[in-house]
Structures are given as structure tokens and as C-alpha cells.
Amino acid sequence: MDEKVLEKLKILAESAKYDVSCASSGTSRSHKSGAIGSAAGWGICHSFAEDGRCISLLKIMLTNYCMYDCAYCINRRSNDLPRATLSVTELVNLTIEFYRRNYIEGLFLSSGVVRNPDYTMERLVKAIKDLRLIHHFNGYIHMKSIPGASQELVNEAGLYADRLSVNIEIPNEASLQALAPEKDFKSVFAPMRYIQQGVLQSAEERKRFRYAPRFAPAGQSTQMIVGATADTDKDILHLSSALYQRPTMKRVYYSGFIPVNTYDNRLPALTTPPLVRENRLYQADWLLRFYQFKVDEIVNDAYPDLELDVDPKLAWALRHPEVFPVDINKADYEMLLRVPGIGVKSAKIIIVSRRYANLGSEQLKKIGVVMKKARYFITCRELPTQTVNEVSPETVRQLLTRKTGKKTDDRQLILPFID
């Protein structure tokens, strides 16, 4: 290890950083004797970059040489930028030494495509196989599967990685092909299917033989770029929702488009990435996964895009004043979750603590309900005065979006701890 590796590390981290799926979650693996490390069931962020994003894994490319020419990617072959390739030993050393110092939870490995998808995939698999089998590394490994890789290689990767991912990037096949001529939906969805088959098959085998090998125990994830094409939030979220129907898809990540190749006029010339929109998509995604919303309730033909000035749950509530006010002391869990200002946690606390006594607004505040929002949508021990029905959805919207002078930050990223 020397200064040369330091140089490579810089180049390859620069090249890897636009992939946002960083959470290291979904596997619990405690220490094995003679091995290094463990993986907690949730991802720990060991640092936060200056853009506020969680650093949990050593996110790096094995090489940033690439024979493809995807318009949205910094590493495309037509770009003239410093290129580097790590040897497997260098990668292994970096991972283990960082891990031993409590810098990281594990590794997030990806690569540009060299020669052909299988050749590239083989090298990635070799690296993580060495980490596991020769160096007994027991930390978290997320590996990005190369689009177009064969089922055999995906199957092998699943034996060593906790999570595999294949990025869709563009939510619509025609746009994908226009921007990434070497890719199509098949090259993305085929490996996704292989991963799913691998996971399900291993789960089946493990029912019968406890020691059957685990296959990507943390499932798979994917990423879509937001704002690089004309696709609406409806297009994006319908695709997400369809993906979540598949048994192994754990997370869809959204990445606000950053014009890294400004010369390419197939792409919009944004001056700042669409961060508010990105955040709204994460909130909508949250509603799909934890709040029992159907995708059509969030976006549909009448409302193809999420509103930027209110969050999607509030937007839904304002469109449906007829279901409010909700009685905090009687309503079931699903209904509590629909109330703006009540989260999963506070809904659960409400359910247990109302057994002792009827709850009033003081207690709700203490429980963590955001009364500023919730007050227009609930009744509790005190009788309601001004619910959304008395003051009208329009007024509530105005009251809740009025600039308070205090700077609010809509760029808040999602909680990295929840899978």
C-alpha cells in the first residue's frame, strides 16, 4: 500500500459517488471466530459527507474504464478523465483496513464495463470471493451487477454479496435506449430476475437444509435518475411500485440528475439538481412501503407529478377532506397513518397509550405528533374547532406552506437506518 493507491482511491471514489444506494441494511451476521467483522441488521452511517449523505460503505469502482457511452454517466468512454484500476489485493486491503478502524460497515463495489459484461462481472465476483473466502471478511458487501451479465455469474455473486443491485437509471425503455445505446430493459431486468430466483431458491433450500448457502440475504435494490428525461413522477412511482411487488426488491433509490456531461444536448441543462423533487419521491416511496398507500392514491392521471410545496401525504389529505377528522382515540392504525403529522412511530405509541386513558393534544405533542399539521385533521379528547372541513383545504394549504422566515430544508435525505 502506498501513495499510488491513494491516487487511485481518489479517482475511483470520484467515479463511484453518483450511485446513491448506500444503505447497508437487511442482514444480520454476527461474528464468526477466525473472521473479521459482523453486520448489524440496520446500516450504521460511519460518517456524513459534506453533501449530508450517509457514508456507510466504502463505495468504490474496481475500474472506471468503460466501453459504454451512457449519456448521464461521468465514466462514459467519450469523457476524457483520469482512469484507474485497483488490483484485487489493493481493494481487499483498503476494505479490511478501513473496516478495522471503524470507518465503514463494508464495501459497495461497482465497475465500468471492460471487454464485455461477463468479463467485468467475473472480476467483481473474484474480488468479493477473495474477501470472503481468503480473507474471511464478514462485513457487509453490496455489489452492483453488470447489466447483461450471465446467470451463472449472478448466481456466484449472490453467494458472497449481502445485496446485489442492478440500476435501471431511466424509467422508460425508449429513453434508456436513447441515452444508453448499449443498454435496454432486458439487460437490466434479466439480472434482476436471476437475483430474485437465486434468493428464493436459497430460501427454499435453507428450509430443508439449515446449512444451504445464503444468497444475497439483503435482497436487491435499484436506482432511478430523476429529471434527466421527461418522465413524470407517475411513471417513476408506478415502476417502483411494480418493483416492490417482487419478493426480493428491498429499495428503490432516486437520484436527482446532475449534469456531469454538459456538452451532451440529449440531456437537460439543469443548473441545480432537482433535490426537492427527489425528496418528494423518497417520501412517496415511504408511503408505499410503510404507510399502506396505493400508488394510484399518490400519483395518477389527474395528478401525474408530486407537488413540490407540500409532502405527498399532506397532498393526499388535502384532496380528501371527506375522510377527516380522524378520532385519535378510536381510529384504527391504518387511519392514524393517514393523518399528516403522524408517523409510523407515533401511530404505534398512540395505539398503546390510549389504552390507559383518552389522549389529548398535550399528550399527542409529547408523543411526537406534529400538531402544527395534525390539528387540522384530528379530533382527540378536546373537541375539534378548526378542522380541514371547517377552514377548507385551500386555507390549510396556505397556513402550512406559509414561509415562516425560518429556513427549512427540503433537501433532507431519507433516514438511512430503516430498511
Binding site: 491513494l6 459517488k17 460518517s47 449523505r53 478501513f98 478502524r101
Partner: protein, 254 residues
């Protein structure tokens, strides 16, 4: 006003609960030995910590509240907040007296307060797990210094023992001047009479650093710089997630 005087240990507190029930006298104030008395009081009772009494109270509590709430009591205790002993005393008393579990009754101010402190201490524990950094010394030991606001080091041990089981390490609390040393077999509590500079500054001096330590620190630092996306810089969020009080011991922020 009734005062109990005890040794400010958790076992002492449990003993105080035991004695209170057997005397049918409950304290209004808990004091450590040597703490000044208030101007007016009716009775001061000396509590002698007794592990058997403590254990009986604990066993009794096990029948009243869940495992998780029980551990919540010890976590809350580690906050070391001045009023926390009286708060826990009241909590335990309520738990013992009530016919059914009270642990979810967040309408009760003591239970809510305990839940809040419990959460704060847990957050600090998580932050220490996230942000402590090992530095490798010439003798192969990995050293980390921490200075948490609550006494969370004991709560971080399971994580460190599980994850760093094949390396020797010392995690040291600079504020409370104690640490835990793991020798590949056992983890033992350590205190030092004479303190080398790293036990004061939290940083290994170069003469006892492993030869590659510097290199890995600078690699991590460079990695940290490279991974941020310039178009998305957000110093507010950065600080909010990673409070500045941890930076001193983190190579990427030094």
C-alpha cells in the same frame, strides 16, 4: 421531608427501593454521601448497598415490566443526569405498585420522561458506535478515544466485541477517565494512574503509531473528500448528522 443517602450506584438505588418498601418509608430526596443536606428535613436514612436486596428488586421488576423496559432503566441510569435517580425510583415504585404493566403509559410524566432520557442515551450510544475511530499502535492494539455526553461506553461494548473480535483494542472515555481493553479473549475495564499523552489528547503520538496508520488515515480523508457531490453541498445537514463535538477524533474531520 425524608432523605435517603446512598452510594450513587445502580445497585445502591435498587437497595434503596428495597429498604423503602421494608420500612414503608419513601424518600423525597436521594443524596450521595457527602452531599449537602437541605435546610429542613424530617429524617435522613443511610442506605447500605446490598447486592442481594438489589437482585430481589430486579427479580420483582422482571415480573412487572418487559425485558426491553428493564434494560431501558439501566440505559437511563447511564445518562448520569442529576435527577435521574429520583425519576427511576418513582418509575420503579409505580411499576411495583401497579397491578398491570405501566411501561407504555406515556400519559404518566415519569414514564414519559424516562422514555425520553432512554432515547437520548441510546442516540448517544449510536453516535459513538458510528463515529469512534481506531488508530493502530505499534504493538498492534487499536486505540480509540471518546468523550460522550452520557456514560455510554458500556453500551457500545457488545458492538465492538462482536465486530472487532480478532484485533486487540482499547476504547477510552477521556471525560470519565476509564476504558475497556480487549485482549482477544476478555474485555476488562481499565483505569490508568499515569496517563500517556494519547489518554489526554485522544490521539496516538507518531512514535507509537503503526507504520501504515498515517497512510490509512490520509486515504480515508481523501476518500471522504472525493465522495461528496459538489453540486449537493449541504453543510447544515452535514453538521446535523455528525455533531462537531465528535470531529476531534475523526481523521476525516481533523
Amino acid at each position: 421531608m425524608i432523605i435517603f443517602i446512598y452510594d450513587k450506584t445502580f445497585e445502591g438505588l435498587l437497595t434503596a427501593v428495597f429498604d423503602a418498601y421494608s420500612r414503608r418509608t419513601f424518600p423525597d430526596l436521594l443524596l450521595a454521601e457527602g452531599e449537602p443536606f437541605p435546610l429542613f428535613y424530617d429524617e435522613a436514612i443511610q442506605i447500605y448497598t446490598d447486592d442481594r436486596k438489589a437482585e430481589r428488586v430486579w427479580k420483582g421488576l422482571e415480573r412487572k415490566i418487559s425485558k426491553s423496559s428493564l434494560s431501558g432503566l439501566t440505559v437511563t441510569w447511564l445518562s448520569e443526569l442529576p435527577e435521574v435517580d429520583m425519576l427511576l425510583f418513582r418509575y420503579i415504585r409505580k411499576a411495583i405498585d401497579a397491578p398491570a404493566t405501566i411501561e407504555f403509559n406515556l400519559g404518566d410524566p415519569d414514564i414519559l420522561e424516562t422514555a425520553k432520557i432512554w432515547k437520548k442515551v441510546n442516540n448517544e450510544r449510536l453516535r459513538v458506535m458510528q463515529f469512534f475511530r481506531f488508530q493502530k499502535a505499534t504493538d498492534g492494539t487499536y486505540f480509540a478515544a471518546i468523550a460522550p455526553i452520557y456514560n455510554v461506553l458500556p453500551l457500545v461494548l457488545p458492538y465492538a466485541q462482536d465486530r472487532f473480535a480478532d484485533q486487540q483494542w482499547l476504547i477510552y472515555d477521556l471525560k470519565r477517565e476509564y476504558g475497556y481493553y480487549y485482549d482477544l479473549k476478555d474485555t476488562i475495564e481499565v483505569r490508568f494512574k499515569e496517563k500517556d499523552s494519547h489518554l489526554l489528547t485522544g490521539l496516538l503520538s507518531e512514535d507509537i503509531m503503526d507504520k501504515d496508520e498515517k497512510l490509512f488515515q490520509s486515504m480515508w480523508k481523501e476518500y471522504f473528500k472525493s465522495i461528496a457531490i459538489k453540486e449537493r453541498l449541504n453543510p447544515r445537514l452535514h453538521r446535523q448528522h455528525m455533531p462537531a463535538r465528535f470531529w476531534k477524533y475523526m481523521p476525516e474531520k481533523r
